[in-house]
C-alpha cells in the first residue's frame, strides 16, 4: 500500500500536524474532450483536525463538484485535472494524495478515514436492505474479524447515538421517517470512526425543528469523536451558527475564507456581503434583505477577469481584466477581491439597519 501513497514534500504540509486535509489548486472539469467546463478552479484550503469547515455558494457554484472531487466519487465526464488533496492520517502514517492514490489505497481509506453524508437520505439508503445490514456490510468490510452478530449489535449501538432506538436495525429504510433516515445516514457515516466527514446539505430535506436536532447532534458527536467536517450548503445562515470557518464559493472558485465570526461581522468580498444580506438574521435585529442582482455566470463562457464583476455593485476599472487571487492580501481571513488589494477603505459594510420598516 505504501508504494502507492504519495508523500507530500511541501514544507507547509509537513509542518502542520494538526491538519487533516490539505487541498491545493484543485481543478475539476467536465467533458475533457473538446471544450471542457471548469466546475472547480484552483480550490485551495486546509482543514484542521476536528474542525467544521462550511462551504457555501449558490447553485452551480461548484459545491457538489467539490464534494465528489474531495471524496473521489466523481464519475465521468467529471475529472480532476489539476491539484492535490493530501490526507494526513491521525496515527501519523504517511500522508496520502487522494487524487493520485490507487483504487486499492482509496478503498482502504474510505469510511475508516473519510466518509460522507449525502443530501437526500431518502435515496442514500438501499431500499431493499435492512438498516442493520447496511451498517454491517461496511463494518465487516473494514474489520474482517467482526462477526455478523457483533456487527449488527454495533449497528444498533450507532443508531442509539443519534437518538434512534436500537431495535430499528431490523427496519427497512421506507419504514423510517425522513428525519430518522437522515440521522441514520449520519450514524452510518460515523460507523468506522472517520477523521473526516463530508456532509452534502444533510438537512435540506427535513423540517426546521429536525434540522436543529440533527445539527445539535452533529456538534455533540464531533465533540466526543473529534472528526473534522466539510459541510456544504447553500444556506449561509446555517453555517454561521455551525461552522468554525467558512469558505464562500463563486463560479467554481473560493472567493472568501475566514472564521464564521469574521464572515458575519465583516465580510470582505462583495459576493459574501450579498449572500449575508439575502436572508434574515436569526438572532439579530432585522435589516433590509437586498439579494444579489443577476445570475451566476455560465461556466462554459466564464467572464473575463473577476467572475463576479458583472454582478458586483462595487466593481471598478480593471475588474473585468484582472483576476484576483485568494490570499494575496495575506492573513488568516482570505479573500479574492481587488478591493482588498492594499486599499481596504472601500470594504465598509453597507448594512441598512432599518429593521423597523417591516
Amino acid at each position: 500500500m505504501s508504494t502507492q501513497t504519495a508523500h507530500d514534500t511541501r514544507p507547509a504540509a509537513r509542518a502542520a500536524s494538526g491538519d487533516v486535509l490539505h487541498v491545493t489548486g484543485l481543478t475539476v472539469e467536465y467533458g475533457t474532450d473538446g471544450d471542457p467546463v471548469r466546475a472547480c478552479t484552483d480550490v485551495t484550503f486546509t482543514l484542521r483536525r476536528g474542525e467544521i469547515l462550511g462551504v457555501a455558494g449558490e447553485s452551480g457554484s461548484g459545491k457538489s463538484t467539490l464534494i465528489t472531487a474531495l471524496t473521489r466519487l466523481q464519475r465521468p465526464p467529471a475529472a480532476t485535472t489539476a491539484g492535490s488533496i493530501v490526507f494526513h492520517p491521525r496515527d501519523g502514517g504517511p500522508a496520502v494524495d487522494l487524487v493520485t492514490a490507487s483504487p486499492r489505497t482509496l478503498r482502504a481509506l474510505r469510511w475508516t478515514s473519510l466518509s460522507i453524508v449525502l443530501q437526500s437520505a431518502m435515496d442514500a439508503l438501499n431500499p431493499v436492505m435492512r438498516l442493520g445490514a447496511q451498517f454491517a456490510d461496511v463494518l465487516r468490510t473494514h474489520d474482517r474479524t467482526l462477526d455478523r452478530k457483533a456487527a449488527w449489535a454495533r449497528a444498533a449501538e450507532l443508531l442509539t447515538t443519534v437518538g434512534i432506538s436500537g431495535d430499528r436495525v431490523r427496519s427497512y429504510p421506507h419504514e423510517l421517517s425522513g428525519g430518522m433516515r437522515q440521522r441514520a445516514g449520519i450514524a452510518l457515516a460515523l460507523a468506522c470512526g472517520p477523521e473526516l466527514v463530508v456532509m452534502d446539505e444533510p438537512t435540506t430535506a427535513v423540517d426546521v425543528v429536525m434540522q436543529r436536532q440533527i445539527l445539535a447532534q452533529v456538534l455533540r458527536l464531533r465533540r466526543t469523536l473529534g472528526f473534522a467536517v466539510v459541510f456544504v450548503t447553500h444556506d449561509l445562515s446555517l453555517l454561521l451558527e455551525l461552522a468554525d470557518r467558512i469558505a464562500i464559493m463563486y463560479a467554481g472558485r473560493i472567493v472568501e475564507l475566514g472564521t464564521a465570526q469574521e464572515l458575519y461581522d465583516a465580510p470582505r468580498h462583495p459576493y459574501t456581503r450579498g449572500l449575508r444580506d439575502s436572508f434574515p438574521p436569526l438572532r439579530a435585529p432585522l435589516w433590509r434583505l437586498t439579494g444579489i442582482p443577476g445570475t451566476p455566470p455560465d461556466l462554459r463562457r466564464p467572464p473575463s477577469g473577476c467572475p463576479f464583476h458583472p454582478r458586483c455593485p462595487q466593481r471598478f476599472a480593471g475588474c473585468d481584466t484582472h483576476l484576483p487571487v485568494l490570499g494575496e492580501a495575506g492573513g488568516a481571513h482570505l479573500v479574492a477581491c481587488r478591493l482588498d488589494d492594499g486599499d481596504a477603505a472601500a470594504t465598509g459594510t453597507e448594512r441598512t439597519t432599518d429593521g423597523g420598516d417591516r
Binding site: 466519487l73 438501499n126 468490510t141
Partner: protein, 333 residues
C-alpha cells in the same frame, strides 16, 4: 405478519381467477356451434354413407358428452371429471385420454422451455448488468446495439435458418424430434445423450432470441440505478466492487426484470409453439399445434386449462417471491 396478510389476499385472488378459468374453459366450447359428439357422428356418416346405429350414438355420447344435456348437469359432470384429472378422450388419438397425452408432453416442454427460459434470463441479465455498469464503454457500445439488432430478428426465421444450416447443411443436429426413437426410453446414458443432442438446437434458438430482451431491459435499468445515491454511498463505503454491483446496483435494477421473468416462467407450460412446431419437438406446444390442425376439441380444451392454471400458479409464485425481494411491496395491497 404483514407478509402473511399480503399472501392470503393474493391467494384469494388467484383462487377466484382459477375458478373463472375453469368456468370459461367449460363454457366456451359449449357456446360455439357444433360439439365433439355431433362432429364424430357426422364424420362417421360421411365416411360410411349410412345412419349411425343408436347404440353407437349412445357410446359416442357417453364418451364425448351429450349436447342435449342440461348445462348445469354438464358442468357438475365436468367438475367431477376435473377432480379425477380426467380431461376427456382425444379424438385424433382415440381412445387415449387427454391427460395421458399432456403428461407425456409436459416433461419435454418443461425441460426444453423451462431450462432455456432460465438460461436466457441469467445470461441476458448478467450481461445487462455488465453493459449497464459501464454504460458507454466499448463492450456496451458493441454489445447493446448488436443485441438490439439480433433480438429483432423474427424467431421463426432464426429457428428455420438454424435448422437449415446446422441440421440440414452441416448435419450436426437431427432435423426433428426430441430423442432418438431407436433407443430405449429411460434413465440410461445413450438415451439422455440423445435428448441433449436433439434438444441442443431448439434450445440454442430460444436462448438466442430471448436473452436480448433481458439484456436490454437490465442494461437500461442498471444505467439508471447506478446513478442512485445508494450506489454512490456504497462506493464511498469502500465496499468491494462486486458487492456494490451485486447487492446495491443489480439487486435493485433486477426488480422490474424479475416480474417479466415470472411471467415468462408462467408461459413455459404453454410450450414454445413455434420452436416445437419447427423442430417437431414432442412438447405441449406441438401437441396444441396438432390438436388445432386436426380439430381435436377435448385435446385443445385440456391444454388450455393446463396452461391457464400453470400461468396462474407461476404468477402466484412470482408474487410471493416479489414480496421477499422488495420489502416496499408489503405495504401495498
Amino acid at each position: 405478519m404483514r407478509r402473511w396478510g399480503f399472501l392470503l389476499r393474493r391467494l384469494g385472488f388467484y383462487a377466484a381467477a382459477a375458478a373463472a378459468a375453469v368456468v370459461l374453459n367449460f363454457l366456451l366450447p359449449r357456446l360455439m356451434p357444433g360439439d365433439p359428439s355431433s362432429a364424430i357422428v357426422e364424420e362417421l356418416q360421411r365416411v360410411s354413407g349410412q345412419q349411425v346405429p343408436p347404440e353407437t350414438l349412445e357410446s359416442i355420447r357417453a364418451i364425448f358428452g351429450d349436447p342435449d344435456q342440461n348445462l348445469g348437469e354438464q358442468f357438475v359432470g365436468y367438475l367431477g371429471q376435473l377432480a379425477r384429472f380426467d380431461l376427456g378422450v382425444s379424438v385424433v388419438n382415440f381412445p387415449v385420454p387427454v391427460s395421458e397425452l399432456v403428461l407425456q408432453a409436459l416433461p419435454w416442454t418443461l425441460l426444453l422451455v423451462g431450462s432455456t427460459t432460465v438460461l436466457a434470463f441469467v445470461l441476458g441479465t448478467g450481461l445487462g448488468v455488465v453493459a449497464g455498469w459501464k454504460a458507454g464503454s466499448r463492450l456496451d457500445s458493441v454489445l447493446t446495439p448488436l443485441t438490439a439488432f439480433l433480438s429483432s430478428v423474427p424467431y421463426f426465421w432464426v429457428a428455420l435458418l438454424a435448422l437449415w444450416v446446422f441440421g440440414f447443411v452441416l448435419g450436426w443436429f437431427p432435423l426433428s424430434g426430441g430423442y432418438d426413437a431407436n433407443l430405449a426410453e429411460g434413465f440410461n446414458l445413450p438415451f439422455l445423450g440423445s435428448v441433449l443432442h436433439y434438444g441442443a438446437l431448439p434450445a440454442a434458438t430460444i436462448v438466442f432470441s430471448a436473452f436480448g430482451g433481458w439484456l436490454l431491459g437490465m442494461r437500461n435499468m442498471t444505467v439508471t440505478t447506478v446513478r442512485e445515491d445508494y450506489v454512490l454511498l456504497a462506493q464511498a463505503k469502500g465496499l468491494s466492487r462486486g458487492r456494490v454491483i451485486l447487492r446495491y446496483a443489480a439487486r435493485n435494477a433486477m426488480l422490474p426484470s424479475f416480474t417479466g421473468f415470472a411471467m415468462a416462467l408462467g408461459g413455459v407450460i404453454g410450450g414454445a409453439l413455434l420452436t416445437e412446431t419447427v423442430f417437431s419437438y414432442p412438447g405441449i406446444g406441438y401437441l396444441l399445434f396438432e390438436s388445432l390442425n386436426k380439430r381435436d376439441y377435448p385435446m385443445m380444451q385440456g391444454v388450455f386449462l393446463i396452461v391457464t392454471l400453470a400461468t396462474l400458479l407461476a404468477n402466484l409464485l412470482a408474487d410471493s417471491l416479489y414480496v421477499v425481494l422488495d420489502p416496499r411491496i408489503r405495504e401495498q395491497g
